[in-house]
């Protein structure tokens, strides 16, 4: 257990060693919520979406910030750590424990990013249902840990992988039910139900139990996918 904690802690420090990365993990959610919220309502209206009002746009910008940061983070965690993780696993920690430590580090950083986004959102515009909003923002972060890790498992090259993460983010963010009226298969992106929860939390609407179940399932699936991706990256090729 102590080895697991030490490795997990070192994985977190690996990303925070660069001061600028730490600063960006804090600053970007703040800027997203403060700057993007002011135009998201206009943008959603232009796309024929239903999202309007300060509460909804501020809330959704917090979710997107958490998703975007955690997706890129998880991708680079998988793509750039293969060699080191294999050596750690071969040295006795085992692929499953390396993967668990990676997941723990990604979740810890996701919590930090989500907390910054949540506090900024609360300070900027207030939140009608704060606990619902906190859970939904964290769901955005964890779902994108799965997306980023999956891309990292499939693609090692940083340029291709980061472009794909951005493409998935763009499709998901701008095809959601709040941003467009066109529907279709693209409207069923990974954060669709988390978006509904977050908008409801921001506007003070009740959230149906089905949305909570769907978000819980999406988060569990994302973490399972992330675990699989980290395990694949750490397992021995022999």
């Amino acid at each position: 257990m102590s080895a697991f904690a030490a490795v997990g802690g070192s994985f977190v420090r690996e990303h925070l060693r660069t001061r600028l990365t730490l600063a960006l993990l804090v600053a970007i959610p703040v800027f997203f919520v403060l700057i993007f919220a002011s135009v998201l309502g206009e943008f959603a209206k232009a796309l024929g979406g239903t999202m309007s009002g300060n509460g909804a746009t501020s809330a959704i910008s917090a979710g997107w910030a958490a998703a975007f940061l955690c997706g890129a983070l998880a991708f680079f965690q998988v793509s750039s750590s293969r060699g080191a993780d294999r050596r750690l696993a071969a040295a006795g920690l085992g692929a499953a424990r390396v993967a668990s430590a990676r997941i723990a580090a990604a979740v810890a950083l996701g919590i930090v990013v989500s907390a910054v986004a949540f506090v900024t959102l609360w300070a900027r515009s207030g939140i009608a249902h704060p606990w619902h909003a906190a859970a939904a923002i964290l769901a955005f972060a964890l779902i994108y840990v799965g997306v980023g890790a999956l891309v990292g498992a499939l693609i090692a090259a940083p340029l291709e992988g980061s472009l794909l993460v951005v493409l998935v983010f763009a499709v998901d963010a701008f095809s959601g039910p709040s941003m467009t009226s066109s529907g279709g298969i693209l409207a069923h992106g990974p954060t669709r139900d988390a978006t509904n929860l977050l908008i409801a939390a921001g506007t003070g609407e009740p959230s149906p139990g089905g949305d909570w179940l769907a978000v819980g399932a999406a988060v569990l699936l994302a973490l399972a996918v992330a675990f699989g991706a980290f395990w694949l990256a750490a397992r021995s090729r022999s």
Binding site: I35, A46, P158, L159, E160, L164, V166
Partner: protein, 251 residues
């Protein structure tokens, strides 16, 4: 001799890119998807915007999205290419310097690879835009798209040379979203960027793009000069930083 070596390094760099079919696919699919979907999804609600030179024009959000979305897609893709082309330059080109190449020669070769990637993204973005929207004047519109690609490609290269890849990626994407997605975007507010927007690299090319999109006559001379100045300054900074980095390790 030097020209031959630069050409050889360029050829190797382009060959390396061609061996990465997924990269080529993404450089086509990413701008094509973003531009076409954005335009197709946008409602034709009326919106008043200001052009360079002081004129105003009533357009629709759909047309306006067609006019500006190509720039955002180009900047995203070119910026990320810049980050990672230069990261791999720092990793691989030190060996070339040790083998006798001058740092400037390897940097020129890498910049040529970045230019090729940017040209592909610009061509795809403009071709897709042309399917939905016809600018009033193509020349300034194309010039603006090229300027955005070169400026953000150089900015990405600079960040890639100075920062680690995660920080560079975050900063690159955040800069594009903020500068082109919000601050310069005439879809928001009163249809003109705020006064302080002139300080950001996207100001000149975006205003040039809007001018080309809606005006037959050219009114964006100052904006063109400003965009060129950013390009030259960033290009020189990238060259200097990389030559220094490669030279320091090669000596």
């Amino acid at each position: 001799m030097s020209g031959t070596r630069v050409t050889a390094a360029m050829r190797m760099g382009v060959r390396e890119q061609c061996r990465r079919p997924l990269l080529l696919i993404l450089l086509v699919v990413f701008p094509a998807y973003v531009v076409s979907r954005s335009i197709a999804e946008t409602e034709a609600t009326p919106h008043l915007i200001g052009l360079p030179g002081g004129a105003t024009v009533m357009t629709s959000m759909k047309e306006l999205h067609g006019a500006v979305m190509a720039g955002t897609a180009i900047a995203f893709a070119a910026g990320l290419c810049g980050v990672f082309v230069m990261q791999s330059a720092l990793a691989g080109d030190r060996r070339l310097v040790l083998a006798g190449y001058r740092p400037g020669e390897t940097v020129l070769a890498r910049l040529a690879v970045l230019a090729a990637d940017t040209a592909l993204v610009v061509a795809v973005s403009l071709a897709v835009t042309a399917a939905y929207f016809t600018p009033a004047a193509w020349a300034p519109f194309i010039a603006a798209a090229v300027l955005l690609g070169v400026t953000y490609g150089a900015l990405g290269a600079l960040l890639g040379a100075l920062l680690d890849k995660l920080a560079a990626t975050y900063l690159m994407l955040f800069l594009v979203m903020t500068d082109l997605g919000i601050v310069q975007n005439p879809m928001f507010g009163d249809g003109e960027p705020a006064g302080w927007a002139v300080l950001l690299p996207g100001y000149g090319p975006t205003r040039l793009m809007v001018d080309g999109a809606y005006s037959d006559a050219f009114h964006a001379g100052g904006e063109l000069v400003l965009g060129l100045a950013w390009t030259v300054a960033l290009g020189a900074a990238v060259y200097a930083v990389l030559v220094r980095a490669l030279g320091a390790h090669g000596s």
